[in-house]
Amino acid sequence: MDAFTIGAEKISSRLWLGSSLYPSPKVMGDAIQAASPGFVTVSLRRQSAMQLRQQVSEHGHWHILLQAVATSGSRLLPNTAGCHSAAEAVNLAQLARELFATRWIKLEVIGDDYTLQPHPLQLVEAARELIAQDFIVLPYCTDDLVLCSTLLELGCPAVMPWGAPIGTGRGLMNIYQLKTLRQRLADATLIIDAGIGKPSQAMAAMELGYDAVLLNTAVARAHDPVSMASAFRQAVDAGHMAYQAGLMVEREQAVASTPDIGKPFWQQAEVRL
């Protein structure tokens, strides 16, 4: 898989994975190996600072995660999942920076509990504050064009619009809008985050010219997460390669790919049965 850069940093793969919901840490580790993701996100929600510190201890769940990330050549991307306000997200981001010694943060501020839709206003506020504090902020956002360009103007090196609500597996719900984003923000790094349920949907995102996809449930909840991780890797590779190769334009009328002229017997009537 070809590498690309965000900010000044080289990212090794266009498939990014979440680390929740796997049947066991072993399966999670194997899936990460199979996918060789550019980033692996890790959630800090639901835990107090004391509990968080316990988890990076030698036997903790995150220790296993950190090992898998290191051996697969991936990078860790802490997120602020479960936050409902800018202040909460900023606090959690600071904690993540201290725990994992990284400036990278996937910024997530939820505005509606049922759809888990990002809160655009709180998101912008949190992004502004975190960038001022020297974080590298990758915001999970809706596919609103003005919101995405505002986040980019603030200094986010990439934005991560949703394909569909988190965990739904419904794929790219608004292709028109996602195409518009790609066209209007031609120079920006755009990553589809959330809603991807099948490798074909990840491939479709890459064919649209998106720079990467981030997903979790579709791999973690597969009957065989390791094989599914591998399938997504190949789909993302193929989609990106297809985008670079240049997709043909759809036509209204059929056009034979083999010319009739020069073909023997082309004038003969069809064989009747």
Binding site: P23, S24, K26, H59, G60, H61
Partner: protein, 361 residues
């Protein structure tokens, strides 16, 4: 191998207590060391809901765990009957099945659960062990369940028991058979004699690489309303179970659980977990809105990275560590006793015919 004449067992959780009893009744010298006090046990087994549910847990477990569970279902009745006749106590072992339900709005969760079973060769409706129920049959089995639930997966061969009575009975039976039980005594406080069986669960983290604690939180409830068998609720964000825990004076007790949080944290139940568990309960059995909460409890399950149990030789062939039973202790313990007898020659008087049946099936 010739069986050793003396055993030292670390930990009075489920595995340690079972081993102490099985060995002592064979006439060998047994010393059981437990860090906690007898009146306030700290083991995961004390906190657990004690279901023997290989099919309900299939999607959350490996094939090894599932196979151990099927085997344990065959082994528990004899163990219980021997234990009850030796102690005169009743452990509340009931093999009356369990039900898996989802709210109609979450039918996709039910679909995913059934798909997982099918993927593992256990398609609902295709065998005795895994059946589908319609609304009327569900109501017949459990009249108090939320009337909005229109279907259920019915697992008629699953069992559950009363873990606290069982553990107390195991200690009594082990003592009767001559075992010495030393509570409030950590492993390092006492020189080990003979063969060592290390069953300390999370307490063995220093000695077993990659062993970690996974926090679980449960509630104890009491109600006049009756639920006869374990119920499991599938929900997009959490899975919950409600397990009957006996009756006294016309009031039934239940356990409601359990969260699964990646943290080696034994602090009391959080507000958020209690709210999630209770709101899910209210949806599952609306009649429980007037149930009484009699206790909150939390503990840590010992887990290895692959979530399988492990039997690890140590002490130059004169010891075994048995650990990593995770959320499947009661599901796996009898099968592990059998494995220990067959592979390491310990005299546990387990009936070996069952293993063969499974192997032939």
């Amino acid at each position: 191998m010739t069986a050793p004449a003396a055993f030292t067992i670390y930990g009075a959780g489920l595995m340690g207590s079972l081993l102490a009893w099985r060995l002592a009744r064979q006439g060998v010298k047994v010393t059981l060391l437990e860090r906690a006090a007898e009146h306030s046990p700290q083991s995961a087994a004390w906190t657990a809901a004690a279901m023997v549910a290989p099919w309900a847990e299939r999607s959350a477990s490996t094939f090894d765990v599932f196979r151990n569970g099927e085997l344990s279902l065959q082994l528990w009745p004899q163990l219980i009957s021997e234990l009850e006749s030796e102690t005169g106590m009743s452990c509340g072992y009931q093999c009356n099945g369990s039900l898996v339900v989802a709210h109609p709005a979450d039918r996709n969760e039910m679909q995913q659960f059934c798909d997982q079973l099918s993927f593992n060769g256990l398609t609902p409706g295709m065998s005795e062990q895994v059946q589908m129920l319609d609304a009327a049959s569900l109501r017949e089995l459990e009249p108090n369940i939320n009337a909005e639930f229109r279907q259920a997966v019915w697992l008629p061969q699953e069992a559950h028991l009363q873990q606290r009575i069982l553990l107390t009975a195991l200690w009594r039976a082990a003592r009767q058979a001559g075992a010495e039980l030393l509570f409030e005594t950590a492993a390092e406080q006492q020189p080990a004699q003979g063969f060592i069986l290390d069953c300390r669960g999370t307490g063995a983290a220093e000695d077993i690489q990659q062993l970690r604690g996974v926090r679980g939180e449960v509630l104890w409830l009491e109600s006049e309303q009756r639920i006869s068998r374990p119920l499991r609720l599938l929900h997009p964000r959490y899975h919950l179970y409600l397990v009957p825990k006996g009756e006294s004076g016309g009031r039934y007790q239940y356990m409601l659980g359990a969260t699964e949080i990646e943290s080696d944290d034994r602090s009391p139940v959080s507000v958020r977990s209690a709210m999630e568990l209770l709101s899910a309960l209210y949806c599952l059995v609306p009649a429980f809105s007037e149930a009484r909460i009699i206790a909150f409890d939390s503990n840590c399950r010992p887990a290895l990275p692959d979530h399988n149990a492990a039997i690890i030789p140590f002490n130059n062939g004169q010891g075994l560590r048995v650990n990593g039973l995770f959320r499947h202790g009661y599901l796996q313990a009898p099968a592990l006793l059998l494995t220990i007898q067959q592979h390491f020659g310990l005299p546990l008087s387990m009936n070996e015919t069952y293993q063969q049946e499974v192997a032939c099936a």
